[in-house]
Amino acid sequence: MAVETISKTPEVSLPISSDSITLRISRFNPKNDLSPIFAEFKVPIQKWTTVLEAILFVKQNLDHSVAVRYSCRQASCGSCGMRINGKPALACYTKISELNSNIVTVEPMHNFPIIRDLAVDFKQMFANHKKMKPYIIREDSEIASDTKEFLQTPEEVEKYLQFSYCIKCGLCNSACPTMATDESFIGPQGLAQAYRYVADNRDDGKKERLKIIDQSHGIWRCHFAGSCSHVCPKGVDPAMAIQLLRGYLLGFRK
């Protein structure tokens, strides 16, 4: 792959820092380019500098045209997923110092169409997420007057709690080997959300959801590589959700 080296050094006065790293950013605009190239930047870092901060330093001081998506900077919004030294991770939740390398390479997530540089298209993932009916389905409501909130015991909450931590960052889908070739596959993100609602005892939509995931590009296309659970930054275990959902479909669970 061609490497374009941009040896711009920052002209602004920088925070006191003895260290610097080389940040290699994958640059690609599908409208104009045939293949991605890497642009290299020298970036000063401190012990607490995150990969996202290093990218934003480049945008502010060296090349403002780098495309990256971010918002919360605190692992909450799910915008900044990318491959950092080859591994899918949140840029705002990965410190440069924990990478143990003077060269940090950032590339867009696998298994998503690239919009530009590090920004990928989430349309399909969000559509699959919606297909799972990610809300409580039941006849009555807890918000109308003269109704009460639906109480749950701690044990009942525990059944789905970890799956409700999903921030839709797409890292699990990007790590999934099935998603690499099967673009119709629902993916670990959507399947984990299907389980999140199926396992919620306030919900009555189990039958509907099980029917949706029991399709030729549904739950059975998982072959338990487990990479989804390995990369999730929020401690969600989509691989387990998939196995638990299979339990319902195979009749081991009611």
Partner: protein
């Protein structure tokens, strides 16, 4: 057909095959290997009706399992309405063809036509 039913068949045929192939191997171990491959010994297997029937079942189980497995691989490799229809019906056709050809062999050997 619902995918879960297909996959139940897939897992079921795998388990069934493990059981029957075990019996098959145990039978073969009653003789040493070269003896078990001698012409008259091979033919004798097919003349033993329960054993020939078991071989027929193994043939069906593994044809269904193997071609469904191949179908899954091909569906994950490429997508498209026409392509997927082709793969789905093609696998059923291939299963049927292999079962027919294998049954023909078992039947002919059983009736002493080889």
């Amino acid at each position: 057909m619902r995918e879960s039913i297909i996959m139940k068949i897939h897992y079921g045929t795998a388990l069934g095959a493990v059981a029957l192939v075990t019996i098959h191997i145990l039978f073969r171990m009653t003789q040493n290997f070269s003896e078990s491959l001698q012409y008259q010994n091979v033919i004798a297997n097919y003349h033993l009706l329960p054993y020939a029937l078991m071989l027929e079942v193994v043939l069906i189980l593994l044809s269904v399992h193997g071609f469904n497995g191949l179908r899954v691989i091909l569906l994950e490799l490429k997508q498209g309405i026409v392509y997927e229809k082709l793969i789905n019906y093609g696998s059923i056709g291939a299963m049927a063809a292999l079962i027919a050809y294998g049954s023909r062999t078992i039947l002919m050997a059983g009736m002493g036509m080889s």
